[in-house]
């Protein structure tokens, strides 16, 4: 059973709105929650004092907050399909709470992942402050991971949408667990890509937009047999290109009809009859 169009549109609008708000906050970057901006390392290298100073200038809570905001901004659009699936398969009065539990489970997985990622971020700031080297190393790992069978396996698992129990406590529990598992597979697929912008001393936002594009694109691909394969996921680009061509064609037809006085007359005549 499919979801009514208006429900689908409402879910899309809500999801994208929250994501956009998160993006605005990130771009505005209040209190510099994204990335380590203050590096205090002596010439002798990292010391207890420099760690303390770094944590003072970049509280972990603030960094984790920034991380979670980043996850919401980048990942929420990817949850559209599973949320719609939950909506169409749940009792009407439970739809919203189940969708929320799924999202919470998903974000919980990524929030936990934030702890090691923030640690890596702080570590790289201490050892190689202001350097692009850590980001380049992670980018190389991400590139290798991108073509690995493990990544493909995780992406395949991310396509699994289980039928959830409809009644009682199990429906809430299993929905949260579905979100958690979905988050774990998503982490398995995109962990390296997500660390990359965090390690950049500059250009976080551009990198985040790029990573979001890559992750949404690969999410749209069909599951495949996991194996090493060099391939670039281009479905989003193909889709956007095809949709643009269709829209242009439609526009041309409309304009041709509107500008043609004979066709106007024909429409008018049909309307009368």
């Amino acid at each position: 059973m499919r979801l009514p169009n208006r429900t689908y549109k409402a879910i899309s609008l809500t999801t994208l709105s929250v994501s956009i708000v998160a993006w605005i906050l990130l771009l505005y970057n209040p209190s510099h929650v994204l990335g380590v901006v203050h590096c205090h390392v002596s010439d002798a290298g990292p010391s207890r004092a420099s760690v303390e100073m770094l944590l003072l200038m970049n509280p972990i809570s603030s960094l984790l907050c920034g991380w979670c905001l980043m996850v919401v901004a980048m990942m929420l659009p990817k949850l559209l399909m599973p949320v719609c699936f939950i909506y169409s398969k749940a009792l009407k009065r439970r739809r919203q709470i189940m969708a929320l539990l799924f999202i919470l489970g998903y974000l919980f997985a990524w929030a936990l992942m934030g702890i090691p990622i923030v640690a890596i971020m702080l570590g790289s700031s201490l050892t190689l402050p202001g350097s692009f080297v850590p980001a380049l190393v992670v980018a190389t790992i991400a590139l290798v991971w991108q073509f690995s069978p493990v990544k493909q396996y995780c992406m395949n698992k991310g396509h699994e949408h289980p039928y959830l129990p409809a009644f009682g406590w199990p429906s809430f529990r299993d929905t949260f667990l579905f979100g958690l598992k979905h988050g774990i597979w998503c982490i398995g697929s995109g962990w390296a890509l997500m660390i990359f912008p965090m390690l950049l001393p500059d250009g976080h936002h551009l990198a985040m937009i790029f990573v979001t594009f890559v992750m949404v694109t690969e999410h749209l691909e069909h599951p495949q047999t996991p194996r090493w394969r060099f391939q670039l996921h281009g479905r989003l680009m193909r889709m956007l290109s095809a949709q643009t061509q269709i829209r242009i064609k439609q526009l041309r037809t409309i304009l041709a009809t509107d500008l043609n006085p004979l066709s106007n007359k024909r429409i008018f005549k049909d309307g009368i009859s």
Partner: protein, 494 residues
């Protein structure tokens, strides 16, 4: 065509692989699949499938494994496939001495009068009159359960029927997509992919006829027609699909419209997916979209019979239902026909854990939601000419298994609700492949049963008793698993 080499784009074998095949990984044709059943190289002949002279991986990638199932592209993709196949066949026949220039593919109308429910006898003969092998004969074609090898179609209200022809909407033109869904759900390039929900034309008769014609090997393995990755090796495939194409043409002739959505008209490339492509008789490529096969006249052919196949009573579907419920005494009175866009779907009952169907079948109680089911009962209680009662559907969700040929009967409170024809089950159940392993979901309209329960004052209940019984072999290791059985109401309330 059967005498041509595999790598000849106009060979029988190449055309069969365009539909689907089991020799190479359909995501990566450089990877051969293991030998043994159901690999084409291990199937018992006839037909004797060549195992050498394979096309290049690039050619395979462009042409093979295109068939569309569980999607709104099911009717147009198969129309283009038949058209290309017929062109090649006609080219071959025209080059034979005395071959008729106007040769066309025949169709098998199993709904026709007399003994047309039986497979045309030419397909059952091992040899031609001159003693040479009959190219229409296929060894692995066993027919329906209990048919003792005779191939025929069970035609009836809860078996194979033309009820889909009563639909008026191609693809859930209503915003719930639950009823009147003739051609399939809105998707990209799909072949039993994640959570496919068949259009009614595909579900019945298409899937059912595949299963009944093919049947099973004595050990329960799928015969050729019963598995979409093997089916187009059997010549009867093309006659069956011509009939499905004829039904679609008849449905259009009756005034029903195909989608006008550019995403349908432009084919799966509008979704960023593969294009539809077929070989011409000269082996050049013919790229097509649904907009090019929207009407048979675009391809310059028609069918001898284009009647809808079902006799519409003078009364509309809703009027008939209200009369059966004792609410319409004067047929001339107007009934408020609810516009499709005002219909909504809601889950009102479900089983709580995964189920298994083995050789002994399955009996389970589907728990009903007091609120949702109460609304169904209330809609029946308060039904009137301006207030139509809900429709009720049973969905067997996430069916997984490894034998497509399994056929099951389904009953609700001991009333026959229809069949599960599991054509495509194996492909839909494979994890780590294109299909995602979501299994099949099959929809049965049980509104009549619920109306009957209402009339018997038996609707006020907390559960529905659902029985699923296999009609043929479920061998050990081939049991079906079902994620959930769901009951949905489709409300006509604004």
């Amino acid at each position: 065509m059967q005498s041509r080499k595999f790598n000849d784009l106009t060979s029988w074998w190449f055309f069969a692989a365009i539909h689907a095949q089991t020799m190479f990984d359909n995501d990566d044709p450089t990877q051969p699949l293991p030998l043994g059943y159901p690999n084409w190289k291990s199937l018992p002949g006839p037909p004797a499938i060549p195992t050498t002279d394979m096309p290049t991986a690039d050619v395979m990638k462009e042409y093979w494994d295109q068939c569309q199932h569980g999607t709104w592209f099911f009717p147009p993709w198969h129309r283009g496939y038949l058209y290309a196949f017929e062109n090649v066949m006609r080219d071959v026949i025209n080059n034979l001495p005395g071959g008729p220039a106007d040769w066309t593919l025949p169709y098998w109308n199993y709904f026709g009068p007399g003994n047309q429910f039986k497979m045309p006898p030419a397909f059952a003969q091992l040899n031609m009159p001159d003693g040479s092998p009959n190219p229409l004969y296929v060894k692995a074609r066993f027919g329906p359960p209990g048919g003792h090898g005779n191939v025929f179609i069970h035609v009836g209200p809860t078996s194979i029927n033309q009820e889909c022809q009563r639909n008026t909407v191609y693809t859930g033109g209503n915003d719930s997509g639950t009823s009147g869904d003739y051609g399939g759900g809105v998707t990209g390039f799909v072949n039993f992919d994640q959570h496919p929900l068949f259009g009614d034309l595909e579900s019945n008769p298409h899937n059912g006829v595949h299963n009944l014609v093919g049947g099973q090997f004595p050990n329960g393995d799928d015969a050729i027609m019963a598995n979409p990755q093997l089916a187009s090796l059997d010549p009867i495939f093309y006659l069956h699909h011509c009939n499905i194409d004829r039904m679609w043409a008849a449905w259009n002739k009756a005034g029903n419209k195909n989608p006008v959505d550019p995403k349908w008209l432009n084919g799966p490339t509008a979704h960023g997916d593969r294009k539809f492509v077929m070989p011409n008789p000269d082996s050049t490529a013919w790229n097509y979209t649904p907009s090019m096969v929207n009407d048979t006249s675009q391809l310059n052919y028609t069918y001898a019979e284009l009647d809808l196949g079902v006799t519409f009573a003078a009364l509309s579907k809703n009027k008939l239902r209200l009369r059966n419920l004792g609410l319409l005494l004067d047929d001339e009175k107007d009934v408020k026909e609810m516009a499709e866009p005002n219909r909504e779907t809601e889950l009102v009952g479900a089983t709580s854990k995964p189920l298994v169907v083995d050789a002994t079948g399955l009996q389970t109680n589907v728990k009903l939601d007091y609120k949702g089911w109460g609304a169904v009962a209330e809609s029946l209680q308060s039904a009137s000419l301006v207030n139509l009662p809900d429709e009720v559907y049973l969905l067997v969700e996430g069916i997984k298994g490894n034998r497509d040929s399994i056929i099951c009967t389904v009953s609700v409170n001991n009333i026959d609700a229809g069949h599960l024809y599991l054509f495509g089950l194996t492909m839909a159940s494979k994890k780590n492949g294109h299909h995602g392993g979501a299994g099949l979901t099959i929809k049965l309209n049980i509104t009549k049963i619920i109306d009957q329960l209402h009339l018997e004052n038996a609707i006020a209940t907390n559960t529905l008793d659902v029985k699923i019984l296999p009609a043929n072999i479920i061998a050990k290791g081939s049991e079906l698993t079902i994620d959930r059985i769901g009951i949905y109401r489709v409300t006509t309330a604004e």
